[in-house]
């Protein structure tokens, strides 16, 4: 039996996102010119939540986009992606401050693909990165600007983020692989 350890519950998740929202506003001196772009699929609901939190704090709505990176993955050859979403960003990102949002950063390859995808859509003033979980093991020189929780993991472990919008609950679990028989 694989063992599963819950490392974040709904309450902790809300707190982490609220902190990130504050940090984004602080770093960018307000919400002006900001665009939040969630990486499909789990990054997108998180981006929407951050937008709502920022609106509560600042009273200004921040546009939210969704980014599908299937066409940009460097592991496309070995991981045929069948569940493909559509990129939708409601504003022109040129000269905007774009905050990419994803649930977990791991090797950094997804973020690399997302940055390339963004560049094909326009020329942002800057790109920042917000993640709920940083589980380490980076393979590229990429560092998140905003982190909900640093979570040391082993490579063979699996981090599963569940979100209310997609799975009916908010939680983060670490699953350890099967014990040897």
């Amino acid at each position: 039996m694989p063992t599963e350890v819950k490392v974040m519950d709904a309450h902790e998740m809300r707190r982490a996102l609220t902190r990130i929202a504050h940090e984004i506003l602080e770093r960018n001196k307000g919400a002006e010119n900001l665009v939040l772009v969630g990486i499909l699929r789990r990054g997108a609901p998180l981006a929407h939540r951050l937008s709502r939190l920022i609106e509560q704090i600042e009273g200004t709505a921040v546009p939210v986009g969704e980014l599908d990176i299937a066409l940009y993955r460097d592991d496309y050859r070995t991981h045929a992606v069948s569940d493909i979403g559509a990129t939708h960003i409601p504003v022109d990102i040129t000269d905007k401050k774009v905050v990419l949002v994803d649930e977990v950063i791991y090797t950094g390859r997804t973020v690399r693909a997302a940055i390339t995808a963004l560049m094909d859509l326009g020329r942002p003033a800057c790109v920042q990165l917000a993640v709920l979980i940083d589980r380490g093991h980076r393979e590229l020189p990429i560092r998140p600007d905003y982190v909900g929780k640093n979570l040391p993991t082993a490579r063979q472990e699996f981090v599963e983020v569940k979100l209310e919008e997609l799975h009916g609950e908010d939680s983060v679990c670490i699953r350890k692989p099967d014990e040897e028989r």
Partner: protein, 306 residues
């Protein structure tokens, strides 16, 4: 997992649905100012066309180029076909040049099947004789789905030269697998033998065949049919089986009209219908690029690629 795309008759419904969904997502890329994604960088896609078809070839090549693949087009006129080289020898030579995917159009039914059996790379049938034209049917289905929100339960009337139409065959299999009801409407001389044993309703009367249809698809009528004595005249054909405003009176009010192109205006479709709000013919063309992107994406992705 899809390894080739030869016919929709032999394609699983789940794969058809996946291709449609993927194409729907990829449509966004076509609206960008810079239409380029890096997905197929370094891949060699060859289009081998033994029949002239600028539209289909350009559509495939655009799809490949948008995804950063390198494309080479081999036209029958400039290839060794003229020297009497066999089809299999031709494609084996192309394969030896380390190409990654072959898109082919051929006047003989079964040509793509023959080639797919001989090659270890994905082969896409861009139309083989009177057999199938799977990407055309997929783009038709995508267009219908965009307008109707679904395929299931729709009634699609395909009107015209059924016997010689690969578009009709591919649409029949694709649409019926997705739960649509397909009708063939044609003069008796343009209906193939034993057509009733296909999952289709058959009509020789245009009005009856169009009654209550959600979608009407007019097929191109080739001049050659007259020469072969299958029809008395273009005039009689257009009067009896041409899709015009009057014929559309009996369809559902929101019925859309499609045509795989190129159109013979005034023969299988009237001018006013082709240019009316019901016509989705140009959307079909746009969707063609998205569908072909999806096909290349799924065939060249994953471990199945050679």
């Amino acid at each position: 997992m899809l390894t080739d795309l030869i016919s929709l008759r032999e394609t699983e419904p789940t794969d058809i649905r996946r291709l449609l969904d993927t194409a729907q997502s990829f449509k966004e890329v076509l609206e960008r100012p810079v239409k380029k994604v890096p997905t197929l960088r370094g891949k060699q896609v060859v289009t081998l066309f033994y029949e002239a078809s600028t539209r289909t070839r350009v559509s495939f090549e655009n799809a490949a180029k948008i995804m950063s693949a390198d494309t080479t087009s081999v036209a029958a006129a400039s290839s060794s076909v003229q020297k009497g080289e066999s089809l299999l020898d031709t494609v084996r030579n192309l394969r030896a040049m380390r190409i990654d995917c072959l898109v082919m159009r051929h006047p003989q039914s079964g040509a793509a099947h023959l080639v797919a059996q001989a090659l270890d790379i994905p082969v896409v049938n861009a139309g083989d004789g009177m057999h199938e034209h799977p990407t055309q049917a997929l783009l038709d289905m995508l267009t219908i789905r965009q307008h109707k929100g679904r395929l299931e339960g729709l009634t699609v009337a395909i009107v015209g030269d059924i016997t010689h139409s690969r578009v009709a065959r591919s649409n029949l299999w694709g649409l019926s697998k997705m739960g649509a009801k397909v009708r063939f409407v044609a003069p008796a001389t343009l209906l193939p033998r034993d057509v009733h044993r296909l999952p289709v309703e058959v009509y020789t009367d245009l009005r009856k065949g169009m009654e209550g249809a959600d979608v009407v698809m007019a097929l191109r009528l080739q001049q050659e049919r007259m020469e072969r004595g299958l029809l008395p005249s273009l005039r009689e054909y257009s009067q009896r089986w041409g899709v015009n405003t009057k014929a559309l009176e009996v369809t559902k009010p929101d019925c859309i009209v499609m045509h795989p192109g190129p159109m013979n205006r005034g023969v299988e479709i009237s001018d006013d219908v082709a240019d009316s709000g019901r016509s989705v013919i140009l959307e079909q063309v746009t969707n063609g690029v998205a569908i072909r992107m999806a096909v290349l994406y799924h065939l060249l992705g994953g471990e199945a690629a050679g």
